[in-house]
């Protein structure tokens, strides 16, 4: 199926600003889904609150737009009740790592089979540009008008430390690589995280004098790399890919053993 058939066209154009990277990430996600020919009815897409989390409304699956930071536990309920469904979480850097950080690390610990795509624009877009736990040190934001002195998470390290079994990073500027990283995440059985670098020209870009969407995309292209030898650049690729018993499988086995196969 053409990936565009997974869109809810009657909801487009979407609310995202011109040049917002979220649409690029969403496209990469849908192409990965299309390649796997996932049946729309068998997929649930769960999001929190944020510009990125609006993505759930645009895709033609069973979609759930929840509360800020809580996409993962909502998704947990779905996945455990319907282990046969593919459950995907579309979330933002703020949604996943600020208010939602606890759920993120616990789902990673459990190795619950969710594919979590973190639309990382290094800012809270929806609320107009406050810094997030992934805003780089000394960048600017509306709540960091003099520069942000918080240090950000390294999402790859955080996910790994919590027990995620698949962790990758992609970027809007490398849509094909992003699509692959997401695809591998979809294939992986267990908690899979894909950090997707996305540009927010409206707030992050403006606050940090990064210019237009074009210029921001160019910046990404120049400062992130798929090379295995990234040097100073932001590395893209798959950083964790390990096998560990998956949570719904464990639950199922456990139920079977206790209930005697029921």
């Amino acid at each position: 199926m053409n990936y565009k058939n997974y869109l809810r066209w009657n909801k487009l154009p979407h609310i995202w600003c011109p040049g917002c990277g979220h649409g690029i990430v969403l496209g990469a996600f849908l192409r990965a889904v299309a390649q796997r020919e996932l049946n729309k009815d068998d997929v649930a897409v769960v999001s929190g609150i944020g510009c990125s989390s609006r993505a759930a409304g645009y895709v033609d699956f069973n979609t759930l737009h929840t509360a800020h930071g809580r996409a993962i536990p909502f998704a947990t309920g779905i996945k455990l009740s319907r282990p046969d469904m593919k459950v995907i979480v579309l979330t933002g850097d703020g949604d996943a790592t600020a208010i939602g950080g606890n759920h993120f690390i616990h789902a990673a610990r459990r190795n619950l089979d969710l594919t979590v795509i973190v639309f990382n624009n290094n800012i809270y877009g929806m609320t107009s540009g406050q810094f997030s736990p992934m805003t780089p040190h000394i960048n600017f934001a509306t709540t960091a008008p003099h520069g942000n002195f918080d240090y950000p998470f390294d999402l790859v390290e955080l996910a790994k430390g919590a027990g995620a079994t698949y962790v990758a990073r992609g970027a809007a500027a490398y849509p094909r690589q992003l699509e692959k990283a997401i695809g591998q995440g979809l294939d992986h059985e267990g908690f899979s995280v894909i950090e997707a670098m996305s540009q927010c020209p409206t707030y992050y870009g403006r606050k940090n004098k990064m210019g237009t969407a074009e210029q921001m995309l160019k910046w990404q292209k120049e400062n992130a790399t798929v090379s295995s030898n990234p040097g100073e650049k932001i590395p893209l690729g798959v950083f964790v890919q390990v096998e560990r018993p998956e949570y719904t499988k464990l639950t199922g086995q456990f139920i079977d053993s206790v209930s005697g196969g029921k």
């Binding site: 009815d41 759930l64 309920g77 759920h103 139920i255």
Partner: protein, 374 residues
């Protein structure tokens, strides 16, 4: 059927299982913990899911997620956890996802007295989350009623597509009585969509004002959001849609209030004094009321089973009919009495409050009744 000696918290679990609960997510907290523990023991054996979440926020989120797949789902907590669940209780109310939330009340505010009973969360059960929202709350006063009402909570929740709070308290939760673990007669399941997936509008309702949400993953793909949404389920900022949705989800309960509200009344018709209680104070109230009647005193009792929606109509009618003095024993500073004062003049309400972690004794209540009938 032979009676079995069952703890209140356990009765809640047994009833939930009888009602068909298939998903429980929770986080331990005194005095509700036995509910999670029994669920952990019993659900897997039935092929159902128990999960201990990282906190109460996640527990509440998970049961909503599970319910959207069609599962009857439930969580159990106490004061501090109930406070944490408020945001997502509002989400369930807004998106009309049926769930059962058990609050085994302990002394508050804050950490308070974790092991002692209280009824201090009555108002919170109604108003704990932001915005105008609907909720149903039921309160058992015995182990048997805990069994009955847990069951009822699932039924009401599925029928009206609304979160239902079972307001227990430490006494009811921890006491053991002989009860019948009967197989319930009527299990209500949520409505099924009548339209085909193509024509389906998840939040379109008939006169009942109750939507028919299809379980996720059965061919009805739709969108669920905590934003104001129209019949399609998608967000809208249209004033008409906003007003319409906020009113409908609330009216859905108001409209059926007479059906929802249940209570037991004893000897009220000719009463000079009416005791009004719910939960464990009913026990003392019933003892005192019966004793008083035996002495020929015109004392009646209304036991509220449904706490929310509040039986204002019933009570104001009763007041107009009897002009009785209402005596309200409760384990709080007067939440029930205050609410009653919307229907019965303040000066006709006598408050019997106890906040020291003990029950109101029959003797304590009896003294007030005697004072009032004089």
């Amino acid at each position: 059927m032979a009676k079995q000696l069952v703890q209140g918290n356990e009765a809640c679990v047994e009833a939930a299982i009888a009602a068909g609960v298939s998903f429980f997510a929770g986080y331990p907290i005194t005095p509700s913990t036995e509910i999670a523990e029994k669920m952990a023991e019993k659900l897997p054996a039935k092929g159902k899911v128990f999960i201990q979440m990282e906190d109460e926020i996640a527990s509440m989120a998970a049961i909503i997620g599970a319910s959207l797949t069609g599962a009857k789902s439930m969580t159990a907590t106490s004061g501090p956890g109930f406070s944490l669940m408020q945001e997502n209780i509002g989400y369930a109310a807004m998106t009309e996802v049926p769930v059962v939330v058990v609050n085994v009340q302990r002394g508050g505010p804050s950490t308070g007295t974790p092991t002692l009973p209280s009824q201090g969360d009555m108002m919170q059960a109604r108003w704990g989350t932001h915005g105008d929202h609907p909720v149903i709350a039921l309160a058992p006063s015995s182990v048997q009623e805990t069994y009955d009402l847990t069951f009822e909570a699932f039924n009401l929740s599925e029928k009206y597509m609304v979160p239902v709070v079972l307001l227990m308290d430490e006494i009811v939760g921890h006491m053991r009585e002989g009860i019948e673990l009967y197989k319930p007669e009527k299990i209500i399941d949520r409505r099924k969509p009548v339209q085909s997936p193509e024509e389906y509008l998840p939040y379109q309702t008939d006169d009942s004002l109750i939507p028919a949400l299809a379980p996720f993953g059965q061919g009805y793909r739709y969108h669920v959001t905590g934003l104001i949404h129209d019949e399609t389920g998608f967000p809208s900022n249209s004033p008409k849609v906003i007003e319409g949705l906020v009113e409908r989800i609330n009216k859905k309960i108001d409209k059926h209030a007479d059906e929802i509200i249940t209570y037991n009344s004893f000897d009220v018709d000719d009463a000079d004094v009416v005791l009004l209680a719910y939960g464990s104070p009913v026990r003392s109230a019933r003892q005192v009321q019966q004793a008083a009647r035996q002495e020929g005193l015109k004392v009646g009792l209304v036991q509220m089973i449904t706490v929310w929606p509040f039986p204002h109509k019933v009570l104001s009618q009763l007041y107009r009919q009897t002009e009785a003095t209402f005596i309200v024993p409760e384990l709080s500073l007067g939440q029930l009495a205050d609410e009653l004062s919307k229907s019965v003049p303040r000066e006709k309400i006598l408050r019997v409050n106890r906040n020291d972690g003990s029950l109101i004794t029959p003797a304590q209540l009896d003294a007030v009744v005697r004072e009032a009938v004089r």
